[in-house]
Each structure stands twice: as structure tokens, then as C-alpha cells.
Symmetry: C7
Subunit: 82 residues, 7 copies
């Protein structure tokens, strides 16, 4: 799917490489969950550990584990220096 | 789907492991249902027992059993220490 | 799909067991229909008999029979003591 | 799909039985179309004859024939005593 | 799909019969396009000729030809006496 | 799909005939892109060259090339006299 | 799919040709991500490197890498002179 000589990073690769690492996930409704990615599936359903929840820039607490439905995901960003 | 040596937690595993345990489920429209997960299917339709309903942080009562349509689910979180 | 020794309640079971019983159904737009469930299909399209319609907590009348499109359903709750 | 001894009414049965009869159809955006059901398909696209259109409880006129896209349908109710 | 003796009008028949005739099409966002139906497909994508565009009851001009995406269609009504 | 003697214009024909011609495309959120259609696919994803962007009737600049996701398209209109 | 003599640019070609180049991506909710396209898939999920995030025309910071879900994409524009 890419030009010869170019190695594209597939979206699912980003998820796979982020397992057991910190991620920030924004979902619809100005919500952000940041924690350690424990798992995912092809629908981008995500399992996040020690997930801090931020709504409208306000911290709302921490979930030991949360399963976020992929439908609502806007973006996922691996945390830097993890 | 994961790197060797890493055991990812699949989203459906989280549901399966939560059967007969307490969960908190947020659905669109600032609604939260918390109760005991009785069942689910691959669409994330959920059956919850003794489900307390909270809308806009206000308690609205308890349903003996409620079937929540998966489409509307934002996240599911297993309760801690259950 | 469940752990040995645990009997999960499948979402479609809840519908099947509610046939000819009272249910409360909330659909998008703060609408509630409560009546006797006459039928359903795998899309969660529902047929409800003697369905009282409540919009924004205000009673709007009764339909002898109403076919509610599954797409709009938020939850279905079997009535207690029916 | 139903318990022995119970005859469920399938959603598509309701449409089939309503052919050439009066129906009331509510679609998203507080619109109601009431007229005679001429036809339908599995997507719940509906053909309605002599369809009165009501928007926000205000009558907007009559269409000799209107094809309503199923996507937008909230409910369909057969009219009583027809 | 219909009872014996009843001839239902299938939604796609309405489109087929409206080719080269005047139609009024309402799409989401209070837009109406009225013109001559030139074509359609099974997704209800519509090709309309000499299409007058009305937004919020205000005329916005005429398109020589417009392809309206079916997703957004609320209803299609063949014009009377055409 | 059409009556004998009637030649319907299929929606995809309109796109095919518009290649290398000027088009006006409206997408959700009161955005209009007008430029030269370079390509499309069956999802109505569109590639537009020298695309002027207008949001809420205000010009926002020109993109040398833009790929518009089909999901958001409301209508596509070939420009007249091109 | 095109007329003889016309070479259409397929939407996926635009993505393929943009690998390792600068792109600007607008997603729903008035968000723009601009950075280097690292990868994509057929759902238009996008991997962007050094992605600056702009919400409502206000810069919100830079992500070393971000995976944007295709569902929310409005348009993708390759940057000029890259």
C-alpha cells in the first residue's frame, strides 16, 4: 500500500506497540482518559489501567480499569518518554 | 496481535471477567448505570442487575434489571474491591 | 463466553423473557414508552402494546400498538412484579 | 425465538399488517407523518399516501405520497379503529 | 411480503416511477431541494435537475444538477399533477 | 432499474462525468469546497484540486489538494458552463 | 471508472502519496492536526508524527505521535511545497 522504500506505520501497529505503555485517549464529549493500555481490538475498543479521567479539563478521578468503546474515540496518543 | 512476552487484555475479556461483579457503565447523555453485570453480547449490549441510574450526577432510582443498548455505551468500568 | 460455573444472561434472553410482560423503554430524545412487549427482532426493533408515551417526564397519551425502531433505544427494563 | 405457548408479534408483521391502513410515523426532528401506509422495505423505508405532516405540533400540509427514509424513523403506530 | 390481495408500493418503486418527474426532497438541516429526478441508487443517492434549494424556508438559488447523498435524506415526495 | 424508454442518470455517473471539471461540494457544518474534481471512490470520498473553502459563507483560503471524506458530504454539484 | 483519456486520482492514492510528508487533517469539533503522515488504513485511521493540535483556531500543543480515528475526519490536505 506504500511506495517502495517507504515503511508506513499502520494504525493498528501504534496500538500494538503501546501495550503496557502510557497512552492518552480523547473521546467525544471533551473527555480524556490517560493510563496504561492493557488491550484493544479491531474496533478500537480499549482497555486502560489506572485511567485518570478528565472532562472539560477537570480531573474526575481514577479508574482501576476502564473499557472505552471504540466508537467514541477521537484520537489515541502514546505518551512520550515512557 | 501483541508482542511476544506481552499478554494483552482483550476488551471482551474485561466483560467476561465482570460477570456477576459490580460495574459502572456510562452511556451517552450523561447517564451512569451501576450494578451487577449479568450478561453482554458482542455488540456490548449489557444486562445489569440492581442498576442504579444517575443522570447529570443525580440519582434517578434503581432498576431490578436493565438491558442497555451497546450503541450508547461510552465506557464500562469494573468496580474495585468487589 | 462465560467462566465455568457462571451463567450469563444474554441480552436477547431478556427480550425473549419479557414477551407478554410489562416493559419500560427509553429512546433518544428523553422519551419513554411503557407497555406490554409484544415482539422484537435482532435489531432491537420493539412492538409494544398499550404503550404510554412520556416525553420530558410529561405523559403524551397511549398507543394501542407502537413499533419502536431499535436504533433509538437507550435501554429496556422489564417491570417488576409483573 | 419465543417461549413455547407465546406468539410474539414480529416488528415486520406490524408493517405488513398495516398496509392500506392508517399509520402515524414519527421521525427525528419532531416530525410526524400520518396517512395510509402504501409500502415499506426491510430498512423501514416507508411509502405513505395522503400524508399529513406535523412539525413541532404544527400542521404543515399534506403530501399525496411521501417516501420516508427508515433511518430517521423513531416509531410507527397503526391507527386505532381503522 | 404483503397479504394476498394487497399490492404494496415498494419504496424503490416510488423512486423509479419518479424518474423525469418533479420531486421535493428534504435533507437534514432544514434543506429542501425541488427539481426533476434524473436518477438514484439503492443508497437513495439522488440526482436532481434544475434543483431549487431552500434552506430554513429561504430560497438559495438553483443548481443545474445536484447529487444529494442519500444518508441525509429525510423524505422524497413526488410532486402532484406533473 | 428504470422504465423502458427512460435513461436514468446514476449518481456515480455524475461523479465520473465531473472528473477534471469544476464542482461545488457541501459538507456538514456549513462548509463548501469548490474546485476541480480529481477523483472519487464508491464511498464518495472526493479529491478536489485548487479547492476554495467557505465556512458559514466566509472564504477561508485555498487548498492545492484536499481529500474530503464522503461521510460528511451533503451534496455535490457540477459547475455550470465549465 | 473514468472516461478514456482521463486519469483520476483515487482518494487512497492521496494518502499513499502523502506518507512521510506534511498533512493537515481536520476532524469533527473544529480540531486540526498538522504533522507528518506516518501511516493510514482503509478506514482512514491516520498516524501522524509531530502533530500540532489546533482547537477552535487555538494551538493546544504537539503530540509526538497521534492515531486519529478515521470516523471523525472531515478532510485531509497534503501540505504544499513539502
Amino acid at each position: 500500500m506504500t511506495k517502495p522504500g517507504i515503511t508506513a506505520v499502520r494504525p493498528m501497529d501504534v496500538l500494538r506497540q503501546s501495550i503496557d505503555k502510557s497512552v492518552m485517549v480523547e473521546v467525544k464529549g471533551r473527555r480524556v482518559y490517560s493510563g496504561v493500555l492493557e488491550g484493544y481490538d479491531i474496533y478500537m475498543n480499549l482497555v486502560i489501567k489506572n485511567a485518570g479521567e478528565i472532562i472539560n479539563s477537570e480531573s474526575k478521578g481514577i479508574y482501576q480499569r476502564v473499557l472505552v468503546r471504540g466508537d467514541n474515540v477521537i484520537y489515541i496518543s502514546p505518551s512520550t518518554g515512557d
